[in-house]
Symmetry: C2
Subunit: 284 residues, 2 copies
DNA sequence: CCAAAAGTGTTAACCCTACACCCATGT
DNA sequence: ACATGGGTGTAGGGTTAACACTTTTGG
C-alpha cells in the first residue's frame, strides 16, 4: 500500500533511504487536567448551557463556564498545517531518531503547549496503515496528568485549549478513538495507582477528590463512605488546616503522603480478586 | 544517531526513500500456554531438579519433566540469523506496510511457529533507539494466550520450544525486559477479564483453574474459597461430568459460559475500589 | 434566617478467611 | 489400608452500603 510518498531524485536534499519499507513514528499526548472551575450555575438556563456545549464543540469558545460540563479537561491544539489543518488534535508529533517515544511525547508537548508533564503513561499503539494520509504513521499515545492549565499554543499549533471530556469537538485523524482508549487506560490505571496527586493541587479537600473520581468514572459516591475509603488507603495526610471561599462550613485540607508512591489503592489486604495488587501496581 | 544503515546507490534494487527519518516496525508475540504436564515428582531429588532448571536454561533441553517448574509456559524460538543468531527470542518480526501491528504479530507467529492465536493483547511499546544494532526498530509486543502446544519452528526460526516462565534462557535484544512487562500485563488484564478460556482446555477442573491462577500470580489459594469465588463469577458452567486418571476422587468438570464474554471477574457488585469494572473490561 | 457544604456514627447485610470432616478412587 | 485429591459447610471478623442529624459559614 502507498506509504513511501516522497520519491528520491538525484541531488535532492538529504533523502532517507532504507532497504526495507519503514514507518514514521509519532507520539501523542492526551493531557488530562482537573478543573472544577465553574461552580454550577443556576439550573434555570440549562437549555442554554446545552447549546453552549455544542457551540464550544464546533467553535472552540474559550472555557465557557456553564456548570454542566465535566471538570475533567483534556488539552487539544488546533493544527496549523495539513493534513487536517484547523482541526483539533492532541499535541504530539514525530519522534526524533535519538529519542524514545516517551521522550518525544514530552518534547512535543513542551514545544506545542509549553506544558511539562509530571506523569505520563503509555497505553496503546495505533498502527492502522492508512490512519495518516501522507504515509504510514504509527503513533504511540500517552495519557498525561497535570495540574498546570496554562497551555500556550506554539510551534505547529495555532491554538491550544482545554475541553471538558464530555464535550470534545471533532478531532483529526483517529484521535477520537485514541481518546476513548485514553479514558479507558486512565480508569484502569487509577484502580492500581493513586494518580490523584497528579491531578489535584498539593492541598485539596475530600470533596475535590471525590469530584475527581466522579468525573473519571462518571459515577456518584456516598460522601461518607468515599471519605472513609480514601482515608483507609493511607495515602493521605490530614492537613488539619481549613480554608475556603464558599458559603458553607470550612473543609479539612489533605495532602498526599510523599513516601506513599507505588502502592495500591487500598492498604488493607482484602484479596478481592485473588490477584496481588502489589504485583500490578506501576512503580511510580 | 545512526539509523539509516543502507546507503542508496544508483541502480540498487528498490530502495525505500523518505523525506524524514523513519523507523522499522516489528511485532513480537509473548505466547503463554498452560501445561501442568509433570505431576510433581517425588521431592527426594529436589536438588537435582534445581540443577536441571539451570541446564534447561542454558541448553534448552526439551521439556524436562521435573515437577518444580512453573506450569505456565512461554514460547521461544531460536534465531536463525543475525543479529543475536542462535539466541532465544520471542517469535515476531517486521510488520508489513499493509498490516496493522496486530496482523503482523499473528502472521509472524504463524510463519515462525505454526501457531494460531485465539487471544492476543498489546501491552506496551519498546522504542529505545539502539535496541536493535541494525537500525532503529520499534517493537509492538503482544501477549498471546493459547492452548495449542504444537509449535514447529519454521521461517527465520531454527527451533521453537516452550519454557517455564520461571526458567527462561538468556534472551536476544531487550526481550528479557519485554517478558517482564508481558507478565505484568497478563496479571493486570486477568483482573478485569476472564482470560481463563484461552489458557485451559474446553473442559477443565477447578484444580486446573486454581493451578493456573497460582502459576500466574505465584501465590497459593485456599481450595474451597477459590472455588466459591470462581463459581460466583458466573462464567462457569458446571459440566457435571467426571473423569480423571488420578488415584483420587473424580472431579467436577467445568466449561466456560459461551455468552459470558466481556464481563468482570466478579458478578456481585462489591465496589471495592470505586471503579466500575464494567468500564474497564476489554470487550472480548 | 437560610441555603450549602462538611463533620460525624450506626446498623444490617454481605463477603472473606480460616478451618475440618468425609468421600471416591487407584495402588 | 492408605494416600491422594475432591466435595461440602460454618463461624468469626471485617468491609460495605445505606442512611440522618448537626455544625459552620456566607449571603
Amino acid at each position: 500500500m502507498a506509504h513511501a510518498v516522497f520519491k528520491y531524485r538525484k541531488g535532492e536534499a538529504y533523502p532517507w533511504v532504507y532497504k526495507y519499507p519503514q514507518t514514521a513514528l509519532t507520539a501523542d499526548c492526551i493531557v488530562f487536567s482537573f478543573c472544577p472551575d465553574s461552580k454550577q450555575k443556576p439550573a434555570a438556563a440549562s437549555n442554554e448551557f446545552a447549546a453552549c456545549k455544542k457551540d464550544s464543540c464546533e467553535q472552540g469558545s474559550k472555557s465557557v463556564s456553564c456548570g454542566k460540563e465535566s471538570p475533567l479537561k483534556v488539552l487539544l491544539i488546533k493544527r496549523g498545517a495539513d493534513p487536517y489543518k484547523d482541526y483539533w488534535a492532541f499535541p504530539g508529533g514525530f519522534v526524533n531518531p535519538e529519542e524514545t517515544a516517551q521522550q518525544g511525547a514530552l518534547r512535543e508537548l513542551q514545544e506545542e503547549t509549553g506544558l511539562k508533564a509530571p506523569y505520563l503513561e503509555q497505553f496503546e499503539v495505533f498502527s492502522t496503515p492508512n490512519r495518516d494520509p501522507r504515509q504510514r504513521v504509527v503513533t504511540v499515545p500517552f495519557f498525561v496528568l497535570t495540574t498546570e492549565m496554562n497551555a500556550v499554543a506554539a510551534d505547529d499549533a495555532t491554538e491550544a485549549q482545554w475541553f471538558p471530556v464530555d464535550d470534545l469537538p471533532s478531532l483529526a485523524f483517529d484521535h477520537k478513538e485514541i481518546f476513548e482508549k485514553a479514558m479507558a487506560a486512565l480508569r484502569k490505571s487509577l484502580v492500581f495507582n493513586p494518580l490523584w496527586r497528579y491531578l489535584l493541587p498539593r492541598e485539596f479537600t475530600m470533596s475535590q477528590l471525590q469530584a475527581l473520581y466522579e468525573a473519571i468514572y462518571c459515577k456518584k459516591y456516598d460522601r461518607r463512605n468515599f471519605a472513609r475509603k480514601m482515608l483507609s488507603t493511607g495515602h493521605l495526610n490530614d492537613g488539619g488546616l481549613n480554608r475556603q471561599g464558599l458559603p458553607s462550613r470550612k473543609a479539612t485540607i489533605y495532602t498526599f503522603k510523599e513516601n506513599s508512591g507505588g502502592c495500591t489503592l487500598r492498604t488493607n489486604n482484602s484479596k478481592f480478586i485473588l490477584a496481588d495488587f502489589e504485583q500490578i501496581t506501576n512503580s511510580l
